[in-house]
């Protein structure tokens, strides 16, 4: 696979911090992250001061009961939502300070997101869906985008469906397309919120293998999952309960 691992070294501030992990460079660092939601039933404390560090090349599973704050946590990492308090650093970027537009632009190049329900755009072909993030990020020249998208589809073994609409392929295939789309701009970090939640167990395993391949190629992956078996297979599982990390097992 040609997808390269993280190209830039870890940010200086982390190194100077004196908190450098012995084994690797932290790509993600959450410091005392608090998230409150103003819900219909009052204030919900979804995250109660979470500290978390993820090193480059790690494959981390986030597990926990429904409502424990898993999605909230990964939305903090991807910057699609902002914390009430605390800091989120990803690859040297202070994600908690990014405005909406800056966040989108940053995400486009640095973070791949894979959703539980695939979220492919229904009126674009599989190939065009993969090309779309490249178009927005403008990282690759327009004339190369199609070839690159095709290449990514080959890697997730879905190239023969390139010209179909998402609705014309199965759920497992859609999730592979979504992974190819997530990798469009070759980001170092992939964040997935229950990516196998809508898939049957054998399809889920094959999608999971795609993630394992990506980790082998140097990507860092944070994956929310309900699936106990899958959680067993990752290097590290972080367990959330009531907005707090209650277990962090390598």
């Amino acid at each position: 696979m040609f997808i390269s691992p993280l190209k830039s070294p870890a940010p200086a501030h982390i190194a100077q911090d004196g908190r450098r992990d012995e084994e690797g460079v932290p790509l993600i660092e959450l410091r005392q992250v608090v998230k409150k939601y103003q819900g219909a039933a009052g204030v919900v404390l979804a995250l109660r001061g979470v500290d978390l560090r993820v090193k480059v090349g790690e494959f981390v599973a986030i597990v926990g009961k429904s409502g424990s704050g898993k999605s909230t946590l990964v939305n903090m990492i991807t910057g699609i939502d902002r914390p009430t308090a605390g800091e989120i650093w990803v690859g040297g970027t202070a994600v908690h300070t990014l405005g909406e537009g800056q966040g989108a632009a940053w995400r486009g190049r640095h973070v791949a997101i894979v959703f539980q329900s695939f979220q492919l755009l229904p009126t674009l072909s599989v190939l065009q869906n993969v090309m779309l993030p490249m178009d927005f990020a403008d990282r690759y020249p327009v004339r190369e985008q199609r070839d690159r998208a095709m290449h990514l589809l080959e890697q997730v073994e879905i190239a023969e469906h390139a010209h179909k609409l998402p609705s014309a392929v199965s759920g497992g295939q859609q999730q592979r397309v979504a992974i190819a789309r997530a990798l469009a701009n070759d980001p170092p970090l992939l964040v997935a919120d229950e990516p196998t939640g809508n898939l049957d167990s054998s399809t889920a395993r094959s999608v999971f293998r795609v993630f394992e391949d990506l980790v082998d190629q140097g990507k860092t992956i944070v994956m929310v999952t309900h699936d106990k078996d899958l959680a067993q297979r990752v290097e590290r599982a972080v367990t959330l309960a009531d907005g707090e990390i209650v277990d962090d097992r390598a």
Partner: protein, 412 residues
């Protein structure tokens, strides 16, 4: 190489053809109306002015009770304020179409206004122009104003009975048609117009003298000056012992019904603007619905790195495409419509179109409106539709397991 985002725009347009057609048609209708009316107005105004100029319209007309002669006309013509003057005779008669074999009750008498011009070959003011048949009016025969023919209910060649003011009945053949732009169109006025030779007057029992003085003021372009000259001429006539039951001052350079023409065009213009407002309203609604339906897609695009301005560009291009397609329909149709409307209005107001040039500013106006209205109408729905953040869009759509009811919809 087309960028992926434009595929989305095109596929969305193509994928919902009903919506696309509805919006395009609604914009096109408004543009068509605006184009047709603006073009017609420009065409009719210039053409009417052109036609009117060719008859050398009078700036004033006097009617007298007593007949007057060429000497008086000459004396008016010599006034420094007057450029030219001409005398004519006009009077009302009753007529009916002579019907073969039918009794006297077959048709009732109707009114006809008859004009006698001393020299049809050398008219200089309010010129009457031959249209078909005989010219100038042969002795004892009658020419009819072309727009009045439908009121007469007779054909050229038919013989009508004329009852003179002296209650004599004469048979007169309709031997031709003329065009007299200085009169209100007969169908609007309600009275048909006939034209006879000056030598026919005595035969019909009318005195051989003028009772109408048409004149052109030297500085007729100014309405106040025209009015002043009318008063001067009137004084002069009264000093000569004539009584003036009626005098008219013309609006410089404008046909008698210009106000009506402008009012009709204005009304049509209002209808055009209303239809544009209607299409703007439809755009607001459809784009709002479209964005409500695509909240999730907007959120996903933001999540995969689209900046709001990029997404906004996509939706704006989409509405611009609506506008462009509507223009492709509306500009040619508007031109056809303008042609039909101008022709119709010209026939209604009894003048001829010599040329049909769609004014470029009408097309420019259509293009500007065709692009601006969709963009302006969709700006608010687009801006508010794109306010949704990625997180809100995700929450609304239950991406976070079982989080329905906590999304932004409930917070609206």
């Amino acid at each position: 190489m087309i960028r992926a985002r434009w595929y989305k725009v095109l596929n969305d347009l193509w994928g919902n053809k009903t919506r696309t057609i509805l919006i395009v048609l609604s914009i096109a209708v408004g543009l068509f109306a605006v184009g047709m009316i603006v073009s017609s107005q420009a065409i009719l105004s210039t053409e009417l002015a052109k036609s009117y100029a060719t008859i050398n319209p009078s700036s004033g007309t006097l009617r007298t009770n007593e007949p007057f002669d060429d000497d008086f006309v000459q004396s008016v013509r010599r006034m420094p304020e007057v450029q030219d003057a001409e005398g004519r005779r006009s009077f009302g008669v009753r007529f009916r179409v002579r019907s073969e074999g039918a009794g006297d009750q077959a048709e009732e008498w109707r009114n006809l206004q008859v004009f006698a011009v001393p020299d049809y070959a050398n008219m200089r003011i309010n010129k009457i122009r031959p249209v078909s048949g005989a010219w100038p009016p042969p002795e004892h025969e009658l020419l009819i104003e072309r727009a009045a023919l439908q009121l007469i209910r007779a054909q050229v060649g038919d013989v009508v009975l004329i009852e003179t003011p002296g209650r004599q009945v004469r048979e007169m053949r309709i031997s031709g048609l003329v065009h007299d732009l200085s009169q209100l169109p007969a169908p609007i006025d309600g009275t048909p117009y006939g034209y006879i030779a000056f030598d026919t007057l005595e035969w019909i029992g009318e005195p051989r003298g003028y009772n109408e003085l048409h004149f052109v003021a030297r500085d007729g372009a100014d309405k106040d000056e025209a009015q002043r000259v009318v008063n001067l001429v009137k004084d002069k006539a009264e000093k000569s012992g004539l009584t003036i039951p009626m005098s008219m001052t013309a609006e410089p350079g404008q046909v008698p019904l210009n106000d009506v023409l402008q009012a009709i065009l204005l009304l049509l213009g209002v209808l055009g603007v209303l239809s544009l407002l209607l299409s703007a309203f439809l755009i607001v609604n459809t784009i709002s619905a479209l964005l409500a339906q695509q909240v999730r897609q907007v959120g996903v695009m933001k999540a995969i790195g689209a900046r709001t301005r990029q997404i906004m560009g996509m939706y704006l291009v989409m509405v611009l495409i609506y506008g462009v397609v509507a223009l492709l329909l509306a500009v040619p149709l508007g031109t056809l419509g303008a042609r039909a409307l101008s022709r119709y209005m010209a026939s209604l107001f009894n003048f001829d179109l010599t040329a049909f040039h769609v004014p470029p500013q009408a097309i420019v106006l259509q293009v500007v409106i065709g692009l601006a209205v969709p963009v302006l109408a969709s700006l608010v729905p687009i801006l508010s539709g794109l306010r949704v953040t990625a997180a809100q869009a995700m929450n609304t759509l239950g991406l976070n397991n079982g989080q329905f009811g906590k999304g932004f919809i409930d917070r609206l």
